[in-house]
């Protein structure tokens, strides 16, 4: 659940506008929504005879304007009742996030299951597991079980790679 609790006067005194967490969050939402709103103006339009009801861009436009408007209301309310400053994210979070990126790179360039193994061993290790057998279990044995399970039950063919191709060949 969210660890952002609202409480009166929590970050009222010390933080200037741009470091205020609600400002940063709402700014990002509004910025992304505005960029997407811009893109809706690049959508093709259909001629009136084919236009059934509304143009294809109208509905997403309306949604984005709604999101921007509601975000501004949330920001206005956060001035009255500021959000608490949440705890700083620990290193383990960034390591987990980095392991997602490593998984993505390895699974695309080398092998899908190698990517899973690398992520598993990284996450497990940096979350505190030091026993070799358990690292071997999550990095090697479990992915093999998952592979066989999906392969045999669903007849699934996974993307090729240096290890997967050994099996398929």
């Amino acid at each position: 659940m969210s660890d952002v609790q609202k409480s009166k006067g929590a970050d009222k005194k010390s933080l200037p506008l741009f470091f205020n967490i609600s400002f940063k969050v709402i700014f990002i939402i509004v910025l992304i929504s505005s960029v997407l709103l811009y893109f809706t103006f690049t959508f093709e339009e259909v001629p009136p005879i084919l236009n059934r009801g509304i143009q294809p861009a109208t509905f997403p436009k309306a949604l984005l304007i709604l999101i921007i408007s509601l975000s501004l209301i949330v920001y206005y309310l956060s001035i009255k009742v500021p959000w608490n400053i949440e705890k700083k994210l620990p290193n383990s979070f960034y390591i987990t996030l980095a392991s997602f990126i490593i998984f993505s790179v390895v699974s695309v360039t080398l092998d899908f299951f190698l990517g899973i193994s690398v992520l598993s061993v990284l996450v497990s290790f940096f979350w505190g597991e030091r026993r070799i057998f358990y690292l071997f279990l999550v990095a090697i044995i479990f992915p093999i079980i998952v592979f066989i399970f999906f392969e045999t039950i669903l007849g699934l063919r996974f993307p090729g790679g240096i290890i997967t191709n050994l099996y398929y060949n």
Partner: protein, 487 residues
């Protein structure tokens, strides 16, 4: 009588019984493990249901739903951490009672009240779903549009957290559904030149990302958390005096849970909180709440399990999910070529009553497994996160990839995992995103078709009494939180 025999049909089918037993056990395991739950579990097992016939697939998903909702209570009582969000209120009295050395009594009360709540809600489902389906025959496109809007506003209003943030999340979910080719004109929207996006974004990558991957990131921030597990000898059936104390609470909460479940909101989570607070309000001993009151456990547990049957009512009768897990079940129905709605009741009563019967049996099964096996399930909580979450990641990635055998789905899952983590961190619930995503096509499609019928005149909506009623209810739902705040 005929319907009753259709309901009991799963008992006579060994295949369905195996599916039910597996689904119940799997649901219990998912419920017991904090951070997982029936929504994530249902989404992960969805690819495997492709190997089953439609009835077995939906029976499996509903068994996971019922048992998973109950399973959260075991963790709530023994380690003071809700296995599922729906069990949050159970912690308030379950854990204090367990600390007094009465873990068995606490789990016994949770098991009995969950089973009664679940069975009560199936009865509600059996009676109300056909009635609602009958009513839905009167619905045209404008009525369905108004109903979907009502569903989203209710979700914002009574869901967890800030209503405005819930509305933003719901609108975001609908926005995701607009990605891909416009279904009426075939014009690309938000595809950014990626051909694979023309088909739109799949439901499963988003669900797995928002629930499983974002939870993995959340768990990465909680590594220093230490759980103290209370020892459990055996689950005890409630005593006569416990029954005398709680039977009204169980019935009240069953009614509340079934009603909340029918409304498109966060199902069991909201139901259990309301069930708990109502139990406290009507109790002769409100001062015992928070210190190990059996009424508190009964109030929360009967309500969250009663929400399971309630949430299936709009899912089956209207194709509008009552909770995040029923959104997964709805996806399961669609994948298997079953179209929920009034026609389903007329054309496939055996299928429907098979689901009703299975839910009934699942409630009995989790009672048996919970009563005799809670001690074993409790041991599952001992699996350390450092081993559990890499394994869940492996299954999530393979499960997501398997549906359309596309790596794009895996990237989408990771993307929504990160989005989901930050949403939760800053107080945005992810459930409205899921409901918005699944209702998005319905909202846009019915709006555009209504405007075709009305020849572009929006005011024509006011000539449809049912649609107007839903709009008024939506308006009330929106201003309700403001009034509640003022009071």
């Amino acid at each position: 009588m005929e319907n009753l025999s259709l309901m009991l049909a799963p008992l006579l089918s060994s295949k369905l019984m195996i599916v039910l037993i597996f689904g119940t056990l799997f649901g219990l395991i998912l419920g017991v493990l904090p951070g997982l739950g029936p929504t994530t579990g249902g989404a992960l097992i969805l690819p495997f249901t492709m190997t089953l016939d439609p009835l077995s697939a939906i029976v499996l998903l509903t068994a996971i739903y019922c048992a998973g909702t109950y399973g959260g209570a075991i963790t709530a009582v023994l380690i003071n951490t809700p296995g599922t969000p729906a069990a949050a209120a159970t912690c308030l009295d379950g854990y204090p009672l367990a600390q007094k050395g009465e873990a068995g009594r606490a789990l016994g009360m949770a098991t009995v009240s969950s089973t009664i709540g679940g069975i009560f809600s199936v009865v509600v489902l059996v009676f109300f779903a056909p009635l609602l389906a009958q009513l839905a025959y009167e619905f045209g496109q404008p009525e369905y549009f108004a109903l979907a809007i009502f569903g989203l506003t209710m979700l914002a209003s009574i869901g967890e957290g800030s209503p405005i943030k819930n509305l933003i999340a719901g609108a975001f979910g609908i926005l995701i559904s607009t990605i891909g080719k416009d279904f009426m004109t075939s014009i690309d929207r938000f595809t950014f030149g990626i051909n694979e996006l023309s088909e739109g974004i799949g439901f499963i990558p988003v669900v797995v990302g928002l629930f499983a991957i974002s939870e993995m990131l959340t768990q990465s921030t909680l590594l220093d958390q230490i759980f103290k597990r209370v020892a459990l000898k055996a689950v005890k059936l409630p005593s006569i005096s416990d029954y005398k104390k709680t039977w009204i609470t169980i019935l009240r909460s069953s009614g509340i849970g079934s009603f909340i479940g029918v409304l498109p909101a966060e199902g069991g989570t909201v139901a259990s909180l309301i069930g708990y607070s109502e139990a406290k309000r009507w109790s002769k001993n409100p001062e015992e709440f928070g210190k190990g009151s059996v009424e508190g456990i009964a109030g929360a547990e009967a309500a969250n399990n009663a929400a399971t049957g309630g949430a299936m009512v709009p899912t089956l009768a209207l194709g509008i999910p009552g909770s995040a897990t029923t959104a997964v079940i709805l996806t399961g129905l669609i994948i298997h070529g079953v179209r929920p709605g009034p026609d389903l009741f007329r054309e496939q009563p055996d299928f429907l009553y098979g689901i009703f019967g299975s839910m009934l049996i699942a409630n009995v099964l989790f009672f048996i497994f919970g009563f005799f096996g809670a001690k074993i399930f409790a041991r599952i909580t001992l699996v350390p996160n450092k081993l559990l979450w890499p394994m869940i990641f492996a299954v999530s990635v393979c499960g997501t990839y398997s549906l359309s055998q596309s790596m794009l789905d895996v990237w989408i899952m990771l993307f929504f995992g990160i989005i989901g983590f930050f949403m939760r961190r800053y107080g945005f619930s992810v459930v409205p995103v899921i409901i918005g995503l699944i209702l998005g096509e319905l909202v846009e499609g019915t709006l555009r078709q209504s405007l075709v019928i009305f020849e572009g005149n929006w005011l024509e909506f006011l000539t449809r009494p049912i649609a107007v009623s839903f709009f008024i209810l939506s308006f009330i739902a929106l201003i309700f939180p403001l009034l509640r705040k003022k009071n």
